[in-house]
Symmetry: C2
């Protein structure tokens, strides 16, 4: 059955992913990002790991803490990883929250608040960090934190009126981001708190994506739609974010996988993957585009044709998971295409980790390794998941 | 004295600028952007002028209204220009203002508010539009509007607490933008309302730029500094915006020119130009970069190395004006470099107007002609000013 991947190919690829993850990516961040003086992590790093900005992103702090605890849970309970996960959680606990309970977006080296935003992603990433730490330690505090933060997340995303409405009177539009993060956050809490009641929320998010964001007339998963799910024919409504959509596809495929390979979820996830691969894959240069316009009109965001690291990560996971669940050789081919392009262009074999920002043709735009947006999350998550998926495929031989 | 430009060269260049402005740029926008149905203008245009988004930017509406009235004042009192300027001012008057008197940022085709921002640039651009219309019509209403809006602008930029402070607790940082717009808005009001009392405000803005934003240790004009003028060693504090700085340079040189060629203002403006040409000019590919880092570290904004239309416009004005005021052949050379690069890459000789967004090497990123940011302002202002500067230089022969 598994004719597209030989057993030796799988073993070779698993070794590559495992080695890159454990000997390059994770050590790079542990070496350069941990602030032993003031706590937490500094993620704004130059090519060689040198700190270029001491501000601390709360999202990334939650994400790295999640990663470290997840490595403990999924690979081995290594003391270094666990103590650094606690180090991250302590910083979040101490400096992440404003007096009103809402979390900050950026704090400075000492933990003083620099910026707060109306988005609730500081909450969601801190929730998964705490859930993974609960699994690793069985300390109730972390479970309670995770549950409380996910509760706050759900409350905040359904209460958009944090700013006075007159300052953000966007037409009545909703984005796919909060639903996607709703799914993956609930999946993480379900797994690590061992609580299946999160499944209902996951399915409600998937239903809203499928009913409101999938547009068969365009064969596209939209990034933004009107509150009633209708198409908005403006720049914001026409924009497609293929990396985001491929990430949504694999969240749904993962839900299919843990639900006994639920056929309708497989159908849904692969339909999104099929549609958005066509929009996202750059047939001329390779790699996944950042933005497209669903009517083929010009996109107004300046970086629309650049190749960022994370859409490539999500494409690798989505194609591999689709192959695992369907054995359709098409997905093995797409996986090979994206893997080859990515590994030719992104890893920095001289200083470690990956570059983050390439021009359309693969040339480097900036050598930085980390900033408020790029940190130890999409790349190590891809390595870990791709390794695990390939292990499962190998077991079927 | 004027050995670097021959008289015939100046005449040839004046003809090019005049023809491009009056036969291409202005007609392109009059043909495609005027909304005869719902009033105002739609600036979001595809390469061929087709409308790709019907939302209406208030900044651009003020800017185009200013341009049309200014063409009446500086070239000829053409009825088409005057009636379209009134058409723009009417739309701003009817749909530009919220109930609290603050202006919107974007409204839809019918004039319903879509977005409001804390910035006060809708106020400043509507102020210069009304001032130019006063000059063209001598109707007191426009003068009063202009004065009131500039009053509001000054009030708003000194009252940053429109958002609850906890949502924008950026470290105590100030940008050069409000000072620059303060200068040019006051210059426009002084000229068109014939009121020299604005001079004092202009000089206070120039003093703050010179004392707080010029850093001789870097030979750079900063984009952001701390409230006390000190350097901030973070991404935001290190960033340089050469296009912005070259625009500031020519605002100061223009102030020198209208103040009997004030030597210390010429010294100040040319120092900024000399410093920022070095930071901005791309010695490898040509054109002015969007962003640089003052310590040579990676810039975190994705489009840092792209070539946008407007920094090139400001570089052309700055170099020409510096040449007019100093006769230093260096500025004639720089002007030639930037003119040649720009006219090779930006004008769209097939459909008219200029492209706006090029990659570093001059390849097109997107063919769109207009959006919320690109409209009939920097390009026609450059043509008009370059033409006028060259006429003045020619007169000295």
């Amino acid at each position: 059955m598994m004719t597209d991947f030989s057993k030796s190919f799988l073993e070779e690829r698993i070794t590559l992913y495992k080695q890159d993850l454990l000997n390059d990516i994770v050590p790079f961040w542990i070496k350069h990002a941990v602030d032993h003086e003031d706590g937490g992590f500094t993620f704004c790093l130059n090519r060689d790991g040198g700190i270029i900005d001491t501000d601390k992103g709360i999202w990334q702090t939650g994400r790295f803490t999640w990663l470290l605890a997840t490595l403990c849970n999924e690979i081995e309970p290594k003391e270094e990883w666990l103590s650094l996960a606690r180090h991250g959680a302590n910083f979040l606990d101490r400096y992440g929250f404003d007096e009103d309970g809402k979390m900050f977006f950026i704090v400075d080296k000492k933990g003083n608040p620099v910026r707060k935003r109306r988005y609730a992603y500081s909450e969601s990433f801190t929730a998964i960090a705490n859930a993974a730490l609960y699994k690793a330690t069985k300390e109730e505090f972390y479970a309670e934190r995770a549950m409380q933060l996910f509760h706050n997340y759900r409350k905040l995303i359904h209460e958009p009126g944090i700013f006075p409405p007159k300052f953000s009177m966007h037409r009545n539009m909703k984005g796919i981001g909060t639903l996607m993060i709703g799914i993956v956050t609930a999946q993480e809490l379900r797994k690590n708190l061992n609580d299946t009641t999160y499944t209902q929320y996951i399915h409600s998010c998937i239903d809203e994506i499928s009913q409101n964001f999938m547009k068969s007339e365009f064969e596209a998963l939209m990034e933004n739609v009107a509150a009633d799910g209708s198409f908005i024919d403006h720049f914001d409504g026409r924009i497609l974010n293929p990396g985001h959509a491929l990430e949504a596809a694999w969240f749904i495929l993962e839900e299919a996988r843990v639900n006994h390979h639920n056929p309708s979820l497989i159908e849904l996830g692969t339909t999104i993957l099929d549609w958005m691969w066509r929009w996202g894959w750059d047939q001329e240069y390779g790699g996944i585009f950042y933005f497209r316009d669903v009517k083929g009109l010009p996109v107004t965001e300046y970086w629309h044709d650049m190749k960022f690291w994370w859409p490539q990560n999500e494409a690798i996971i989505a194609t591999l998971l689709a192959y695992e669940l369907t054995q359709d050789p098409k997905y093995a081919n797409w996986y090979q295409l994206i893997h080859d392009w990515v590994f030719e262009h992104f890893p920095d074999r001289q200083y470690g980790e990956w570059f983050g920002y390439l021009h359309r043709d693969g040339r480097l735009s900036t050598p930085l390794k980390g900033n408020i947006w790029k940190g130890p999350f999409h790349i190590p998550r891809m390595y870990l998941m791709a390794w695990q998926i390939m292990e499962r495929i190998k077991e079927k031989f």
